[in-house]
Symmetry: C2
């Protein structure tokens, strides 16, 4: 009845996500999926949430169920001001806004900032959800050069001198998909470059709390608070199904983001914001985070050990100190697509890395592996299977 | 530091909402607000929600806290299929999708369908939230002629013959802001017109469950299921702070709406969808709706009685059989702006009706009154005050 003709011109940019199809494949019975990016359900404080729900409804009563302001639930913003100071982000409660997951921010950023053809700078590879959020607004991407320590600052400087860009989007800590963390010296360099060029930088930081070893690295926001919009989420530290993200950043940008969000969803669930607020207020996050880390650390160790044992010498991979992903690079001329098909046939799924590049054509020899959803033995077995397939491809 | 220069071209369409400023005024201490459109907090099943939270976490455990599909939480979609059949909307569970409030749908509709300059047909006046959702996508509006029975079908026919339109947006039952309901004969006529013209119609139906007298009118969807996208929400029948809306409609349109929503917020809160699902599954909605109606009916009656008593004869207003609003029209040459200022000075707030028109310049002599948030005596007192101000304006 209705056809393409009814669609807006921007809708052509929203192609069906190939990764969405992959994630359907992994739902098949018996499949061991290293493809997703979900937290382990056993990492959720499920029992606690029942108690928090009672606390919230006793404390706030109908206020937790009523319409709220677009800016966010005041008690949560106050709790976040204190929580964020602990991770190196200085912001008052009224400088912190709540979104429906960090995805909700990414969409509003695209809506408020990107005119078709505007230039947006991203890592290569970068977070797929950001590409999906920005796509309908028609950006032209410029890819940053990266090495084993993430973004190469000189590459950023060169781009910002050569191009007029709307903003730079980075996931500096335990990046999705690579797991890479930009070291502090490079962060300072990046901050100084964007200060000098007057550029807006989006620092997306969902994973920094999931640190299994090593020492914390301060956010880039700390070195350029007037130019960095810092965003994070409760999806990895509390529960993703609540869809609570937050951000702080330059007031001028925040003002427009709030206005855009009003048209998008009025505001984020009041009940869930109140639950997150009590999760912080009761000190539960400090008690619960080590439990999450203790679930993921051995899983990551099991994966890295098995890769060492079963993966061909011609492959390289990241050894992140935290987060949810390991990034694998095969020999340059390898195409992982047929290997993906073989792996699925042998009931092991992963995501071919090519989907994480803003400019298509790159990363055919790469893959992303997730270790949060399966126990150590399952991970070891899946890596053994995958390793054997990779060995055959190199024969 | 950052200035207008960084904004997208579409952002100029997102002017700061005047109604937002008005709603700030009504927060002043001592103000009796007839301005908002919020459900009464005493109409929320607050105690029930604590029990439902326990049920949900026992029944679904971590599933209620995990990422979910963009289409929506399956148990809720199944419950809605059965619930919707009771209000005259026939749809299978997999033809029903969940959104973050009905606002979430309106934003995605704009994103997927409206290219700048595309024609969208709306009632005059219409729902402000729809105008806000569509604005960034740059539609050109065409206003339908309306009378005491809502949309005049001949006006729709004429518009659809003369213009190529993307879609028609209607709130056919207890409309916001007028309270008007389109009678069944007109609905059939509208359905036959859009069928003949092959036009998409958005039927926004948040209020039809709030019926205080008279008999239910079937949705337009019933008469043109292949052309009508029907949407409603739990905001008026359960709790708005949960942000749960839903829709069903043509498959081609739904497919693109789901894809757009993936970029906007991935999915709507799983926990809140599970709560809504249990609200329906346990039969709670049938038990609770009469309680809501019994709170609002006497408030509406008190307002209508007081208006009869205190408003000047030169004013006319709607007498809706349900919903949340009464629409007032003063003499044609009246400008309600100075009256609004006087009323606020005497601690009574309302929304000047001019804000609800897609094309500015109309409705200077109109106002919208809400009766759900205050008890009968307060409403009577506020209408007495307002009536005296209106009388003075006519002297």
């Amino acid at each position: 009845m209705f056809s393409e003709e009814i669609l807006a011109s921007r809708t052509k940019n929203m192609g069906a996500s190939a990764i969405r199809e992959i994630l359907k494949v992994v739902m098949q019975p018996g499949m061991v999926s290293l493809a997703g990016g979900m937290p382990a359900p056993e990492a959720f404080p499920t029992d606690l949430i029942i108690n928090l729900a009672r606390t919230v409804l006793e404390k706030y009563s109908s206020r937790a169920l009523q319409y709220g302001t677009t800016e966010g639930f005041k008690p949560l913003r106050e709790q976040l001001a204190s929580y964020l100071s602990g991770v190196g982000v200085t912001a008052d409660a009224d400088e912190i806004n709540i979104t429906s997951g960090s995805q909700g921010l990414l969409d509003c950023l695209g809506k408020v900032l990107i005119s078709p053809g505007d230039k947006v700078v991203v890592e290569s590879p970068t977070y797929l959800g950001a590409l999906q959020a920005f796509a309908p607004y028609g950006p032209d991407y410029i890819e940053l050069e990266t090495d084993s320590e993430g973004v190469v600052p000189d590459s950023l400087e060169k781009i910002l001198w050569e191009h007029k860009v709307k903003f730079v989007y980075l996931v500096p800590t335990f990046q999705n998909p690579t797991g890479k963390t930009i070291p502090v010296e490079r962060r300072q360099k990046i901050a100084s470059i964007i200060r000098e060029r007057g550029t807006l930088l989006i620092e997306d930081d969902p994973y920094s709390s999931l640190r299994y070893r090593g020492t914390a690295v301060p956010p880039i926001h700390k070195f350029a608070p007037d130019q960095v919009l810092y965003t994070s989420t409760f999806s990895k530290t509390f529960a993703p199904g609540l869809r609570i993200g937050y951000y702080t950043g330059p007031e001028f940008i925040r003002k427009w983001l709030v206005l855009a969000k009003q048209g998008v969803d009025l505001h984020t669930s009041t009940l869930n914001q109140a639950l997150a607020s009590e999760y912080l207020a009761g000190g539960h996050i400090q008690a619960h985070l080590p439990k999450i880390v203790n679930i993921y650390r051995p899983r990551q160790e099991a994966m890295l050990e098995a890769m060492e044992k079963y993966f061909p010498r011609t492959f390289n991979w990241t050894k992140p100190e935290g987060g949810m992903f390991i990034w694998v690079e095969g020999p340059k001329d390898l195409d992982l697509d047929p290997i993906y098909q073989q792996a699925v046939g042998e009931k092991v799924a992963f995501v071919p890395g090519k989907y994480f590049f803003a400019l298509p054509g790159s990363g055919k020899q790469t893959m992303r592996l997730n270790y949060t959803m399966k126990d150590e033995d399952t991970i070891t077995g899946a890596i053994r299977t995958l390793g054997a397939i990779l060995e055959r491809s190199q024969a």
